[in-house]
């Protein structure tokens, strides 16, 4: 029924050009890292108000997508969606490469990257960061075991895949909780911040998998049945609705309390409103749904890929909004007073990312892409022909 | 398959050559030169025997630093500030040896050696 797995040939000039491009992006990242390392974070756009900038936006987006990339695997292994079984290797592998890319950026942006192993020596179990150290390394190991079991020990696939699924939910909740547990920040202090990250990981992971699958099959001249893409589309629609639901619940709860009128109004019409409406609502929810529900566009592969691209842009916008708007909103230290000071108290923070920051983030993407390209060339990650299993029919189409 | 293997072979050879180059390039040119003599201290007795200090000063300083910063226990006669009363010059005392053995402690990125 399912066709054989095989590595892509990867001998065409196009393939090597792509590899070279990704390597170049990675080198740009390395160069940016050394620039920041030698001149200090002063050459970035970050400042004492906005202390986490573009590197974190890229890194966290990659980490959220890493968790989301496991969707196809989980849908098959845990939820028995047989049509995705052929993509489980690809799914686990994609998780690993995204994790590596994201973590590399995160670690290299430290003020003292030479001390990056200190959290292992002196653990503070109250810190969400320490939890995340365990969550990420655990996820990495589980994904590797999952992948290994699919290659050599099929009897363990079910149990390892299920563990990886549970882990990824906790993992992304942990990522979101880096922000969600911070009481000082009105913008992202919320119990729903963690689950919101999980929801966004579901959409963005599925979207990225769709893009890469369609792209890889097109470029290698392999056959992929359209029905499979539409299966992914249906999953993406469901996940996107979930994201919209989370966003509504969050805003509804906040706006119910007069205590949040000021900050929430600031979010909707303030300096970051464009990112909120265009990026968070537009790219994460509305634009993809409009395309996917469209009777004509939603039923073409191009339409699904376009919606997926928008969704992936959306995850970056979502993370950027949480981070940048969250840090820009001034602290209301003395309620009833308007504050001003040389340390810019009482004013919305100013932040314009610099090129080195973008370079570092893009370097992370380059690294992930490079590992992905090499992985599918040297390992049997993808079926030579992707066809829907017999008897499987698309349950619904717009 | 064969083309892939040949690629691996070529890559390995390249890597080996690169390593060899680094090894040769990094070979210390001053091998055989006499070790430098740090400046003789001014005062009489160090807080620990000199021979012990020679081997353990790094752990000693690190331990004192941890105790002072984290536990708030200050032993003033053994603080870094005190060292300078006898070892008057960081350049002629600390750096001379550290440069020779190529260790770069970052103490003095922040601490100002008293003059």
């Amino acid at each position: 029924m399912l066709s054989e797995f095989s590595a892509i040939k990867g001998s065409s000039p196009g393939y090597w050009k792509l590899v070279a491009l990704c390597a170049l992006l990675f080198l740009v990242g390395v160069g940016s890292f050394f620039a920041i390392e030698s001149y200090g974070h002063g050459i970035t756009g970050m400042n004492n108000q906005v202390v986490w900038g573009m590197p974190h936006v890229f890194a966290i987006s990659l980490l959220v997508m890493a968790s989301g990339a496991l969707n196809l695997g989980s849908m098959s292994t845990v939820f028995a969606s047989i049509q995705f079984k052929q993509f489980t290797r690809f799914s686990a592998f994609l998780s690993i490469v995204l994790l590596i890319g994201g973590l590399t950026v995160l670690l290299l942006d430290l003020g003292r990257p030479d001390r990056m192993l200190l959290p292992m020596l002196y653990m503070n179990f109250r810190s969400m960061f320490t939890w995340n150290v365990f969550l990420y390394s655990g996820f990495f190991v589980l994904c590797l075991l999952y992948l290994w079991s699919m290659f050599d020990y099929k009897q363990f696939t079910k149990v390892v895949g299920s563990a990886a699924f549970a882990w990824r939910v906790i993992l992304t909740t942990g990522t979101g909780s880096i922000f969600g547990v911070i009481h000082a920040r009105d913008v992202f202090f919320s119990a729903i911040t963690g689950p919101m990250f999980v929801a966004v990981s579901l959409t963005s992971g599925t979207a990225l998998s769709t893009i890469l699958l369609v792209g890889t099959y097109r470029k290698t001249g392999r056959y992929m049945e359209e029905k499979l893409v539409f299966g992914l589309r249906n999953a993406l629609i469901f996940f996107t609705l979930l994201v919209g639901y989370m966003f509504v619940v969050e805003k509804f709860t906040k706006f119910y309390s007069p205590a949040f009128y000021e900050v929430e109004t600031w979010l909707l019409v303030g300096p970051w409103a464009w990112l909120y409406w265009l990026g968070v609502w537009g790219c994460c929810v509305i634009f993809p749904l409009v395309i996917l529900f469209h009777g004509r566009l939603g039923n073409t592969v191009q339409g699904v890929v376009a919606a997926s691209v928008v969704t992936v842009v959306g995850v970056f916008a979502f993370v950027a909004h949480v981070l940048l708007a969250g840090q820009s909103y001034p602290f209301d230290m003395f309620p009833g007073y308007q504050l001003s000071s040389v340390f810019l108290d009482g004013a919305s923070a100013h932040y314009v990312p610099s090129l080195v920051e973008l370079g570092m983030g893009i370097g992370g993407i380059g690294l992930s892409a490079l590992l992905f390209l090499l992985g599918i060339r040297f390992f049997r990650m993808l079926p030579a022909k992707a066809v829907a299993p017999e008897g499987w029919e698309l349950p619904w189409s717009p | 398959m064969s083309s892939r293997r040949s690629l691996a072979v070529r890559m390995s050879v390249g890597l080996l050559l690169a390593m060899l180059l680094v090894l040769v390039g990094g070979f210390p040119g001053n091998l055989g030169a006499d070790p430098p003599q740090p400046e003789k201290p001014k005062g009489g007795q160090c807080v620990r025997p000199a021979e012990w200090m020679r081997h353990n000063h790094m752990d000693f300083l690190k331990h004192n630093r941890t105790v002072a910063v984290r536990e708030g226990k200050r032993v003033r006669s053994e603080s870094l500030q005190k060292c300078a009363e006898c070892h008057t010059s960081r350049e002629r005392f600390c750096d001379r040896c550290h440069d020779y053995v190529a260790v770069e402690p970052d103490c003095f990125d922040c601490h100002i050696y008293p003059k």
């Binding site: 200090g40 004492n48 202390v51 003292r112 960061f129 922000f179 007073y337 | 990125d109 100002i112």
Partner: protein, 244 residues
């Protein structure tokens, strides 16, 4: 570390007596050679905002001199251990105020909770410190602190002409903040800002041991109406404000 410490104590005590008498200081007894932070004490501060003049920067100036904190001229990346904040009543119902904001040395400091390496920690006497030797520069503490008490060192700072050699300078890439002038406290002194306020201004800053019911600060806190910044967060800050 099995070496004998006692043999050097006598000598050290004598030496220590010689270095501590900085000019202009109130005469305080020379510290013992060995002192240790006591878990019986809880250092705190009371700031009387009615005494604070918007034009006065004695406390912030003193802090910069004492702790070698330079001004780089880049307001977005300058390091501030203590800063003056101007308060303007939004509805005009309350008088405008000017007051210093510094690290509040909370009983439940969120910076310490989130620090992945325990570089931020609470000393036995309640002072919240950053162990610069251990800080990896992740800045999570800056996200968590509701007082903006912390600054990242964005570039290698210039060393002032006559630095205070008793306080370390800084290297780029770590986070730093007010230490309550821990080096002075250990020598039996007061934070530089408090001292400057008492000498050069109206003396609106009071520093002392909150655990000692007889201390001046404890007595004043019982007598006057005071508040802390954002008491709703439950952090139990130890910098109290009077007059707002």
């Amino acid at each position: 570390m099995t070496m004998d410490r006692r043999s050097v104590l006598g000598l050290g005590g004598v030496l220590a007596a010689g270095v501590i008498l900085a000019p202009g200081l109130r005469l305080i007894a020379a510290p013992e050679d060995v002192t240790e932070a006591s878990d019986k004490r809880r250092w705190g501060m009371l700031i009387d905002t009615t005494q604070c003049n918007p034009a006065c920067t004695a406390c912030t100036q003193a802090c910069r001199t004492e702790n070698n904190v330079p001004l780089t001229g880049d307001p977005e990346r300058d390091i501030h251990w203590i800063r003056k904040v101007e308060l303007h009543s939004k509805d005009g119902g309350k008088p405008d105020r000017s007051l210093p904001v510094l690290c509040n040395h909370c009983e439940h400091p969120p910076c310490v909770h989130v620090c992945p390496t325990q570089a931020s920690f609470i000393r036995k006497d309640g002072i919240v410190l950053v162990d610069m030797h251990r800080c990896i520069g992740c800045r999570y503490c800056m996200i968590a602190c509701p007082y903006k008490a912390r600054s990242l060192v964005y570039s290698t700072p210039s060393i002032p002409g006559t630095p205070n050699r008793k306080v370390p300078m800084r290297a780029k890439g770590v986070v730093e903040k007010c230490t309550f002038c821990v080096h002075r406290i250990d020598d039996g002194g007061q934070p530089a800002c408090v001292e400057a306020c008492q000498k050069e201004a109206k003396g609106g800053m009071l520093f002392g041991d909150l655990n000692d019911p007889q201390s001046e600060i404890s007595q004043r806190l019982r007598q006057v109406l005071s508040t802390t910044i954002r008491p709703d967060l439950g952090l139990k800050p130890r910098v109290h404000y009077q007059g707002i």
